[in-house]
Point group: C2
Chain length 426, copies 2
């Protein structure tokens, strides 16, 4: 929505107008048929395909401004819309159109002794506020998931991506119109002021949930200030524990993959725990792998006696999410110490055990209090696509509502439905 | 936990000690077997049965203090522990022992194209803080549900019920010990200062969710100040809509029950909507029922032309939760206006349509955005027992996590589990 269009400059009025429109639009998209929603998704994809030049031009304005502001290379990379990234946006929209519509699904409908039938129906959350940083393609991803799940959305991207986001917003509006859905279903804010975010996260009457996507700073600030519930992702301090009944071949393969397949993701292993009984056997092989990848090892005293090339770990290392070619390594007595270490120092994100022992695997699965708990698998699998959610709006480290990768279902809720035939309570 | 026992007077230290103990206890109860948890519930029931005199004596101290403070008759009634109420506590504990244990249930475990199996496991939330007012029996109810769902709990009852709550707490501790579970699983605060609540709702590291139970004032204050997520219940402005294709016999029966079976509950009907085409037929019969129950009617202009004994409704009446023998009545054009009125003025609690029309019933079910949506049934059915949850910790008017009556399942969450055989991501 353009502020100019509604002739409002004051940010409070502007945001309340946005909120009011979103709430009204949510009442319409809530009841839209699956066919309509899919038609809109495909129309948005077509519009983006047709307007590639406009998108690239708008992005160029943002990139130039970014260069003038001396934004970091990593920031500029995230900001850039390449032809391949535009293709990915288009494919993403088509994939979301292919996903099953979660809305309206009725489960557990049963007769009760009173004669009424009671069940649950999956329903949209209502209005979702998404706050993100530099990547303009998030505009498209977030819009598609909110729309398919029957929600209205208010999107607030980074101020550095303003022109790119507005260009994408135009395509989204075109697609919604083409499918005869209300354009206010997806509103992309065109104001860069921080006050807009302050209002967005406090408008309880108009916004049902906030999903912040970005660095820890952004997420902590929003969580601290929000009056609207937040689905959030904080740290990913993920562990692999090599049990003394592990198959060491599997252990070495999984650990190498969990640490080195990609360093910057939240499900990358940051800390390795090894049972004392197999430390002498396992650690030299693993250390050799890490050396070949130039991964810095920060280790406990005991592991330091086995690995030559390592630095001593400090207490802070056990809590650290490096997002870099660094790993902490600790020798533990066995399963109990491993579980207790993970539950104390971990971030409840993703943790894996390598073992052939059935009972220990079962105990790890039940007792580790993380959003994803794994047996003999790389932590790198903690991802919406790998889990079969199709696409994800983020990975939640909260315990309420949604834990782990959040897909379409995480953007919905369930209400009770009751069917009677004139039944009354006695 | 007695403050004297740990030799701490400062409320910050006291609450942090409580939180730390709760977190540690949650790691133990998390993995307790169903048999152990049930044994504890039955042992608590026995302990209460044995200590009836102690409970009554402690309650007498609270009642006397209450009389000196001139607490209202309604308040004194809620505060009192009668032999029947003690029986109800004992039966409640036994019923919770009979409920199925939700913890550890694995669902949707499926192979993915990568070869890993992905599923979900139901797990306890961790530490639950419950804040309630005068009724001491809530101590027992809340303890039993938290315990069965594998959570540790910190219970903070009203200061007027301090002695009663401590006596119940003793029974809970005895029962936990008898079943060899840690006594810190259920901690009942023995401090009456408000600061304790301030800490409880802000201790993110130690508390996973807060459930306030009480009047609107308490719940609003806690929601506004809490840093920990809150599962809350606000208004219950419930509607019945009589469609012009309603069976009027059913309509009259349901409306009478929904309004008059109990006036003070959150699922009592507060507002009646009637389709214009049947208003002339339906309203005189319904008004006669209301008159016989001495229910005050506040009506729109159109309904006022049909019903003689009514007062005119103001705009505020459409939003009001009376919790009293008062009802607002409005004539509407039909289904669309009814849905739009409910979604605008309602409190998203419980709303019911009376109709024989299949398509309209389906539309009402899908389009009314409330935690319970009903067809041809009294709103009074919105209750954990009636829904088959066994028992409820409260009724949530939130959209995230739990909507409607919250039973054992609402005190749990789901984590992802992943099973591989040395699988890595490529």
């Amino acid at each position: 929505m353009k502020s100019a269009e509604i002739g409002i400059i004051d940010v409070t009025e502007y945001m309340h107008a946005v909120g009011k429109r979103a709430r009204a639009a949510s009442r319409l998209i809530n009841r839209a048929s699956t066919a309509h929603k899919n038609a809109a998704l495909l129309a948005i994809a077509s519009s983006i395909d047709t307007k590639r030049n406009e998108l690239m031009n708008a992005n160029r304005v943002d990139l130039e401004a970014g260069r003038e502001k001396n934004l970091s290379a990593a920031f500029m990379d995230r900001l850039e819309l390449t032809p391949a990234r535009i293709d990915a946006m288009i494919n993403g929209l088509r994939q979301v159109a292919d996903l099953e519509d979660p809305v309206g699904a009725v489960t557990d409908l049963k007769y009760r002794p009173s004669g009424i039938q009671v069940g649950k129906m999956r329903v949209p959350l209502g209005v979702i506020g998404i706050i993100y940083e530099s990547r303009p393609n998030v505009t498209c991803e977030a819009a598609s998931l909110c729309l398919k799940a029957g929600n209205a959305a208010i999107l607030r991207g980074g101020s550095e991506a303003l022109f790119s986001n507005q260009a994408i917003s135009e395509c989204v509006r075109e697609g919604l119109s083409a499918a005869e859905l209300h354009v206010d279903v997806i509103q992309v804010l065109d104001r860069a002021d921080r006050d807009a975010v302050g209002h967005l996260i406090a408008m309880n009457d108009y916004v049902d949930v906030i999903v912040p996507r970005g660095g820890r700073g952004l997420i902590e600030r929003i969580s601290a200030e929000a009056k609207v519930p937040v689905i959030k992702h904080l740290d990913g301090n993920c562990h692999v524990y090599i049990d003394d009944r592990a198959d060491l071949e599997k252990a070495v393969t999984v650990v190498e993959n969990a640490k080195t397949q990609r360093y910057g993701t939240c499900c990358t292993m940051e800390s390795l725990l090894v049972a004392r009984a197999v430390a002498q056997q396992a650690l030299p092989r693993i250390a050799a792998k890490f050396c070949s990848h130039e991964v810095e090892m920060r280790v406990c005293i005991e592991a330091g006696r086995i690995i030559d090339q390592a630095l001593p770990a400090s207490e802070a290392d056990w809590k650290e999410e490096y997002l870099a070619p660094i790993v902490s390594i600790k020798v533990v007595e066995g399963l109990d110490e491993a579980i207790s270490h993970i539950n104390s120092y971990g971030s409840q994100h993703t943790d894996s055990i390598i073992t052939e022992d059935f009972t220990r695997a079962q105990r790890f699965l039940r007792e580790v209090d993380s959003s994803s708990v794994m047996i003999n698998a790389s932590t790198r699998f903690a991802d919406g696509f790998e889990y079969g959610l199709g696409s994800e709006i983020g990975i939640s480290t909260d315990k309420l509502h949604a834990r782990g990768p959040v897909g379409l279902e995480g953007l919905t809720s369930q209400k009770y439905i009751v069917i009677g035939d004139g039944h009354i309570r006695t």
